[in-house]
């Protein structure tokens, strides 16, 4: 699938935002490590809102016709994408009410804070689930059609959120073993979940060009795809990555996304790193951003079979198709008037 930055940012940033909100509520609700100060809660919830907003804004860049984006909530009965939109939008008033409540009451320990914080967290968690289900409900993309996808989204969102929370706490207050180890545990869990996912997608799929065309008696090979250059389909679906390159990416995902942040957080739990601790969430973002890139680029839409792409194979196709070089639309780009329109 096309690893569009808009969608990578959407899931990465909003996932982190919802994860952060959930972890703030968790820490405050259960007064883990004594809970957060109202100021810190305010700042972190604001940060969560910012992250969610970055995600949501970038998602609209993905829309070819954003003026109709407001309609995206109407089909919530059937569409996980609509549900995501509904809950994401619902998240804002609740999270902001929580923010306001904590700010104006200057405490995050009263009933109101408890209810509002938990509600915001819950809505965020539901939104992450919806986000995961956007992908997991697609039977057309084997690498996505699995409960591992929402599970991964949870694990990664929460790990990112907790990493931010723990790091922000330790920047100001120095070593905090409880928060740091919670973040580390979540990072390790997310890493394990992701490993399970990577093993799972490596298993062969039953659908081949033979079954897709109905010609199962012999080898089926593409003779011609019926167009010399890219189409919307090749642009959207034909991205892929060589196994070697994917392996390198995965090393980076684990190194940057899981190992380095865990190491930094563990170090910060025992010594004062100052601002250096912020490297943990920054590296985690980069690593999990790469993970998200892989999530798209390793996903193979079943329609690729019809373009002669066997599962796991790299295409022998026109160079223009390999990168899917149909150029993205540029809004408002000046155009020559076609000759026939002049008369």
């Amino acid at each position: 699938m096309n690893p569009s930055l808009a969608v990578i940012f959407l899931t990465l940033f909003s996932g982190a935002g919802f994860g952060l909100m959930a972890m703030v509520a968790l820490v405050n609700d259960f007064a883990i490590d004594g809970g957060l100060s109202p100021l810190r809660t305010t700042i972190l919830v604001a940060l969560a809102l910012l992250l969610v907003t970055i995600g949501m804004m970038s998602s609209t860049a993905h829309l070819a016709n954003p003026k109709n984006a407001w309609r995206a909530f109407t089909r919530w009965r059937t569409s996980w994408l609509a549900r995501e939109g509904v809950f994401a939008v619902l998240f804002y008033p609740v999270a902001m009410a929580y923010l306001g409540w904590v700010f104006f009451t200057n405490t995050d320990r009263n009933d109101g804070a408890l209810v509002l914080g938990s509600a915001a967290a819950l809505i965020g968690l539901v939104t992450i689930f919806c986000q995961g289900m956007i992908y997991a409900c697609l039977r057309t993309i084997r690498q996505w059609h699995t409960p591992l996808v929402p599970a991964n989204f949870y694990a990664l969102g929460l790990a990112l959120g907790m990493t931010i929370l723990a790091a922000s706490q330790m920047v100001v207050h120095g070593p905090d073993l409880i928060l740091a180890s919670t973040a580390c545990a979540l990072l390790v869990a997310a890493g394990v979940m992701k490993a399970i996912y990577y093993f799972w997608i490596g298993a062969p799929s039953g659908t081949t060009l033979q079954t897709a065309t109905g010609f199962t008696r012999g080898p089926v090979r593409l003779l011609d795809q019926g167009h010399t250059f890219g189409t919307f389909l090749t642009h959207e679906f034909s991205n892929c990555i060589s196994p070697a390159r994917a392996r390198n990416f995965k090393i980076a995902v684990y190194g940057l996304g899981f190992v380095a942040p865990t190491a930094i957080l563990l170090a910060a739990a025992h010594m004062t790193l100052g601002l250096g601790v912020l490297l943990a969430p920054v590296l985690a973002f980069i690593g999990i951003g790469l993970e998200r890139y892989l999530f798209f680029v390793e996903a193979q839409h079943v329609v690729n079979l019809y373009h002669g792409r066997m599962p796991g194979s790299l295409p022998h196709m026109h160079p223009a198709l390999r990168g899917g070089t149909v150029r993205p639309a540029v809004a408002g780009k000046p155009r020559l008037v076609p000759s026939y329109e002049k008369h």
Binding site: S79, W80, L81, C137, V220, H227, F229, E236
Partner: protein, 231 residues
């Protein structure tokens, strides 16, 4: 009613007539236009509702070339409609045609992800998803002669490899063809239950030759055996 197409892979010669007929009708039709990008330049591309791919089955010399047109299958379980967040994509209850309301589509591409058949293409200029309408503006248009109330691809197909009809009606030309020729839908494992079906190439019985005489003309030429036939 479940309107759809049946494609005969035994006679489809792969001429792309259906694709261009579709293109010309629909570039001025209800989701007009079907934009072309860089039409005279280095990488010509554009929006098409129907594309023909060509495959080779088997190894030489026992290989067969199969031409494979694909367009919207107007699935019973149209996941493209299920996943659409805006309500732009819909399946008409009265005839099963899946359409995209251009006034509602926000161009998120999600429906195209849900479609296993590559039936939907985004028009970057309008920012909307476009797809086969089964020429809904032809098939019910009472200003057209009755015989012209068919999808453009079906009208054009020179090999009559495209049949249009109601797959719910067991006596329709489409249902009969599916029944008699072992028609199949693509990727049944996905459970989309596509309305469009494909007829596999016919397998022709061998022509007997054992009933032919075994005489040797070499002998006859020498013997000059002639038959008396009036000119």
């Amino acid at each position: 009613m479940r309107l759809g197409l049946v494609i005969d892979l035994d006679t489809c010669v792969g001429c792309h007539a259906c694709a261009t007929a579709c293109k010309q009708w629909n570039t001025s039709s209800i989701t007009a236009p079907l934009t072309d990008y860089d039409p005279y330049g280095k990488e010509p591309s554009g929006v098409w509702f129907n594309r023909i791919r060509h495959y080779e089955i088997g190894d030489y010399p026992n290989n067969k070339t199969v031409n494979f047109p694909m367009s919207c299958m107007h699935c019973e379980n149209a996941e493209c409609v299920t996943v659409c967040p805006t309500g732009a994509s819909y399946k008409r209850p009265e005839d099963g045609i899946v359409l995209v309301d251009q006034d509602k589509c926000m161009g998120c591409n999600y429906c195209s992800w849900a479609c296993p058949y590559g039936a939907r293409e985004l028009d970057r200029e309008s920012g909307t998803m476009k797809k086969c309408t089964l020429c809904v503006d032809r098939i019910y248009d009472e200003t057209l002669p009755v015989e012209d109330r068919q999808p453009a691809c079906v009208l054009a197909c020179p090999a009559h490899a495209r049949l249009f009809g109601d797959l719910d009606d067991p006596e329709s030309v489409t249902s009969r063809a599916v029944r008699e020729r072992g028609g199949y839908g693509l990727m049944p494992e996905l459970n989309y239950n596509p309305t469009n079906h494909y007829l596999p190439p016919r397998i022709r019985p061998a022509i007997p030759t054992s009933d032919l005489p075994r005489g040797s003309l070499a002998r006859k030429v020498k013997e000059w055996v002639n038959r008396v036939i009036e000119r």
